[in-house]
């Protein structure tokens, strides 16, 4: 298969920019681990796709190369490549849900595997505690084939799960008996519900109010982690350096100010504020505790249900500058903050228990 990589994955033979002017022309000394695994399985890298700056926007519109827009709607570069059959699948970093939004709006399949089952070695770190290497493909079969190639333990990734856990991703049962619809997110899921019901799945509605808090908590954790991770970009060791400065402080400040985009600067400041002495306990620490509450709420649901159904997007297109990525991510944040696997198919999202990728792909097959 021909695979396109988003520009948050390090590549030795091509530049890696993370969509930022800060890394324009940057060349890594090594490839991301997933590239070696794809090549070992006989797949080839077809090229790279632009991402929004550090991958946390809607679809890539904050890229230093500018937004992709067609017919007045934002487009995503990786999804466009797969949709146009220039690549069979894409490997994307799901930091804040963009691959899932792109899949929902493009009629593609997106799989965000269980956190820790696909190596993040050689990916540009943004929000390490929740970001996941994910797959975007035109069919469930293609998605499964790419998953088979990339899943597995990696000694080089400190958050990689043991091989025995990674194996569960490929070997788990695919039985689906009961699915819960999370009413708190609204949206018209009737078509998906009908398909599941026709295939013998018991579909029940639950309130799921607690999951609405995932967005606020993930925005805090993601921003704090991003703030720390981009502090390394100082214009000294690598990356953009301003032309005009009189001392070391001006070198740092001018380089970061000139290279970083507007949204990124704002998020850095927000992340920094959440970690300040005044806010650490009441904001950052609170978000970490809410993460556990949400994870436990999912565990309670999965004691009864095989998966949960919710929207992936609020609309099937986004006009530029009309949708706030820090609000729209309310649909993707529950899986991001908990590390649970999620699939998007038929324009809707399904979240499963850890290591239940086979259940999710089975549901995706029904929905697509």
């Amino acid at each position: 298969m021909k695979i396109v990589l988003d520009d948050l994955l390090l590549t030795k033979d091509m530049p890696t920019t993370a969509g930022s002017r800060m890394l324009a022309g940057y060349r890594s000394l090594f490839d991301a681990e997933v590239i070696a695994r794809l090549q070992a399985a006989g797949h080839t890298v077809a090229g790279k796709a632009a991402v929004g700056e550090f991958g946390f926007d809607l679809l890539g519109e904050t890229s230093a190369d500018g937004a992709l827009i067609a017919n007045g709607a934002l487009q995503n570069a990786a999804a466009k490549s797969v949709k146009a059959r220039k690549a069979d699948a894409a490997i994307c970093m799901d930091v804040n849900g963009y691959p899932r939004r792109a899949a929902a709006q493009s009629g593609l399949i997106s799989l965000k595997p269980t956190y820790g089952t696909v190596s993040r070695f050689g990916t540009i770190p943004v929000a390490c505690s929740g970001e996941t290497v994910s797959i975007l493909a035109a069919s469930v079969a293609d998605c499964r084939e790419v998953l088979r190639a990339v899943v597995g333990h990696d000694d080089k990734d400190g958050t990689s799960l043991p091989a025995s856990d990674c194996d569960r991703v490929l070997q788990g049962a695919d039985t689906v008996r009961k699915v819960a619809v999370l009413d708190v997110f609204g949206g018209d899921l009737s078509k998906a519900e009908q398909i599941l019901t026709e295939n013998g799945v018991d579909v029940c509605h639950v309130d799921g109010k607690i999951f609405a808090a995932a967005r606020a908590a993930w925005n805090i954790l993601m921003s704090a982690e991003l703030c720390n991770n981009v502090s390394r970009y100082d214009g000294v060791k690598y990356g953009y350096r301003a032309q005009n400065f009189t001392g070391i402080d001006e070198l740092y400040t001018n380089s970061r100010t000139e290279a970083f985009g507007d949204l990124l600067k704002t998020v850095i400041l927000f992340g920094s504020e959440t970690l300040s002495t005044d806010n650490y306990m009441k904001v950052y620490d609170k978000a970490l505790r809410v993460r556990r509450v949400i994870k436990e709420a999912f565990e309670a649901l999965f004691a009864e249900y095989d998966a949960v159904l919710l929207p992936a997007v609020s609309a099937m297109t986004y006009a530029p500058d009309t949708v706030d990525p820090f609000v729209e991510n309310g649909y993707t944040a529950p899986a991001s903050i908990t590390g649970l696997p999620a699939v998007v198919a038929g324009g809707v999202q399904v979240i499963g228990n850890a290591f239940s990728e086979n259940v999710l792909l089975h549901i995706a097959q029904l929905l697509s």
Binding site: D155, N219, I248, V293, K295
Partner: protein, 93 residues
């Protein structure tokens, strides 16, 4: 959030915002503060923090040299180098 705190955050993060960017940042902060109020409705009194979503086994490994790079390779993306050193403006007067 006010302009004074924003200026302090800019200084801490080595950033300088334009007036327009400051307005946008203040609006962003105001929206997030509203979001954060939702978190206060959740009782976390006896809940432990969850830093890692999956159990981390260990990051300790044998101290064995594996992949290495030459100094020249490590400096290939540096903005300015001189005889193997990274160049910065004078920091000691």
């Amino acid at each position: 959030m006010d302009r004074e705190i924003l200026r302090h955050l800019e200084m801490l993060n080595q950033l300088q915002l334009t007036e327009e960017q400051k307005e946008a940042a203040l609006a962003f902060f105001a929206a997030r503060e509203q979001d954060n109020a939702l978190l206060d409705t959740i009782d976390t009194e006896n809940v432990e923090r969850m830093v890692h979503v999956m159990p981390i086994m260990t990051v300790v490994r044998e101290d064995v040299v594996k992949q290495t790079f030459t100094r020249e390779a490590l400096q290939q993306d540096a903005p300015e180098t001189d005889e193997g050193y990274w160049c910065v403006p004078r920091v000691v007067e």
